[in-house]
């Protein structure tokens, strides 16, 4: 049975909004994603090169603000949940299979390089912006944070600004 239809967008936004509201009410913080990758990155460096983390400024500052194991982080748990939830959703809607998604005219090589460079830019950008679309833009909007809203507009402005140059990737 082929069932790949997406949820009614109205339902999706209501659910997502209520989930975010519940998150803020219960935990006093919003949703996030890039922070989990940051925790994994820090944990990895700590394991591989413990002396390096002690001598480098970034890790010293991080340790000052966050005690304990970097993987005992709220966002790490949350992202684990995201992976489970998305997997279950894909299972239910019959969307689970190994695929490689790209624009009709894009080559595989273009897509791979695009994904890697895009990812790297997100890695750097989300650190500068102190959060990504979830942590800064969406959660920031919900609590009226000036910084979060500025980041949100900058993300969309950046995407529209550069979209034209990469249209071959997608159109």
């Amino acid at each position: 049975m082929e069932n790949t239809k997406y949820m009614n967008p109205y339902l999706a936004w209501i659910l997502l909004g209520l989930l975010l509201l519940a998150t803020i009410y219960i935990t006093g913080r919003g949703l996030g994603a890039s922070g989990a990758i940051k925790s994994y990155a820090i944990a990895t460096v700590e394991t591989i090169a413990p002396s390096h983390t002690q001598n480098t400024k970034f890790y010293q500052e991080y340790k000052k603000e966050h005690s304990g194991n970097p993987l005992m982080n709220w966002l790490v748990f949350e992202i684990t949940g995201v992976i489970i939830g998305a997997f279950l959703s894909g299972l239910v809607s019959n969307r689970l299979n190994l695929t490689f998604e790209k624009g009709p005219k894009a080559t595989n090589r273009m897509r791979i390089i695009g994904a890697i460079i895009g990812g790297i830019l997100w890695g750097i950008g989300s650190q500068l912006g102190r959060g990504c679309t979830s942590g800064a833009a969406l959660s920031g909007l919900a609590v009226f944070s000036t910084g979060g809203i500025i980041t949100m507009f900058a993300i969309f402005a950046g995407a529209y600004m550069f979209a034209y140059f990469f249209r071959k990737f997608w159109l």
Binding site: L31, V82, G125
Partner: protein
């Protein structure tokens, strides 16, 4: 009163909550179609704006919800994490992320969703983010000046723009509705087919109606504190409303009685007066404290009688009415205010001409109290205003 962490929900349980919230987050994003990079970037090329709509409105639903919860006193916004503002870092970081979006086709959250249903490009993307974070960490000295420049604190957008929260929320809802309409126009033009989003008329109309009601309610709801203050400042209301009073003698008696653990004096004078002279068993309090999580726990402690004191009885009465409106119970006010208490108890001059037995008792009691209570006050200098444990939750990415 929220947030429920860390009082009602412990930090360990919070991790499990995080997992559950994540499961819902992931499932909703996946169901909404956020696991497809082509669908995601559609909004930048004009063929599919679903993502923008879901994203924008979800933010607004949560925003109005946060506003309503704090308005009705269910959420102390002072304890909620507000993303700090570092102007240049936010703008440049955002632009970099925007470029990453059109190149990579995902944002971090959606890439996790896509990767978990088997999108190989998303797995590659996550690897890229990992490397990107490492580059930032290792090159931190290089990024640091930008990362920390133009720090504004954690302002909220309506303060930055100099408008009220309601007005801002109202504009956001209106802009969102217009954006919905406009983006559907673009979609239809770019894809040259009628997209079904806006065909189901009753659904669309009810959605618009809901949005307008939302925006109007956001607009009409005044700041709760202001509204309550206006109400209690109304003279007729103030005259007609009744609040139980405690006489100066009873208060004096209860202060002196060491076994009385029910009395709790809530002092509304300013901090300066309070530090100069504070009654035992008293706590300094301000109007703002009513709307904060930690201080108002004081008022909800079981089995306590809260006596509101101020210099004059009118102020006491206003505060008590306000507290009643906010749903606090067992509130009394001091008859005649602290002025009367000072005059008749603390600076009591024994009368010489005693006619009745009552006067005799009263004279004896007040004379005794005027000796004991100043001593108690002197020993009570350590009394501090209600401690505000403003531990904001650490959030963000």
């Amino acid at each position: 009163m929220g947030p429920l962490v860390p009082d009602i929900i412990s930090n360990n349980l919070n991790s499990i909550i995080a997992l559950i919230i994540g499961i819902f987050f992931g499932a909703i994003l996946e169901q909404a179609g956020f696991s497809s990079s082509r669908k995601l970037v559609g909004l930048f090329y004009g063929y599919d704006f679903t993502v923008l709509r879901v994203f924008f409105t979800a933010g607004i639903v949560a925003m109005v919800g946060v506003m309503a919860l704090s308005y009705f006193g269910y959420l102390d916004i002072n304890l909620v994490y507000i993303n700090p503002t570092f102007l240049w870092s936010a703008i440049i970081g955002g632009l970099i992320m925007g470029l990453g979006f059109v190149l990579g086709g995902y944002c971090p959250g959606t890439s996790f969703c896509a990767a978990s249903i088997g999108k190989i490009d998303a797995m590659v993307f996550i690897g890229g983010v990992f490397v990107g974070v490492l580059i930032f960490n290792e090159g931190y000295p290089l990024f640091e000046p930008l990362y920390k420049s133009a720090y504004w604190g954690s302002p909220r957008i309506f303060d930055t723009l100099g408008m009220s929260q309601n007005v801002f929320a109202f504009f956001m809802v209106v802009i969102a509705l217009l954006a919905f309409w406009f983006t559907s126009k673009i979609e239809n033009k770019v894809s040259k087919v009628k997209i079904t989003n806006f065909n189901s008329k009753p659904l669309f109309l009810s959605f618009v109606a809901f949005g307008i009601i939302l925006s109007l309610s956001a607009y009409i709801l005044p700041d709760r504190k202001e509204a309550l203050l206006r109400k209690v400042n109304d003279e007729n209301y103030l005259k007609s409303a009744q609040i139980e009073k405690m006489t100066v003698d009873e208060l004096a008696f209860r202060i002196m009685d060491e076994y009385d653990n029910k009395l709790q004096i809530i002092d509304f004078r300013n901090l300066e007066e309070y530090t100069k002279f504070a009654l035992p068993k008293s706590i300094a309090f301000t109007i703002d404290n009513f709307f904060e999580k930690e201080p108002n726990k004081v008022l909800t402690t079981k089995g306590k009688i809260n006596v509101f004191v101020a210099n004059d009885e009118i102020t006491e009465k206003k505060m008590a009415l306000l507290a009643n409106d906010l749903g606090y119970k067992r509130i009394k006010i001091l008859d005649g205010g602290l002025d009367k208490f000072k005059k008749e108890i603390l600076e009591y001059k024994p009368i010489t001409e005693i006619n009745t037995l009552d006067e005799e008792y009263s004279n004896r009691f007040r004379f005794k109290a005027s000796k004991i209570i100043p001593e108690l006050i002197k020993n009570n200098v350590s009394a501090a205003p209600v401690e505000k444990k403003q531990k904001r939750v650490i959030g963000g990415c």
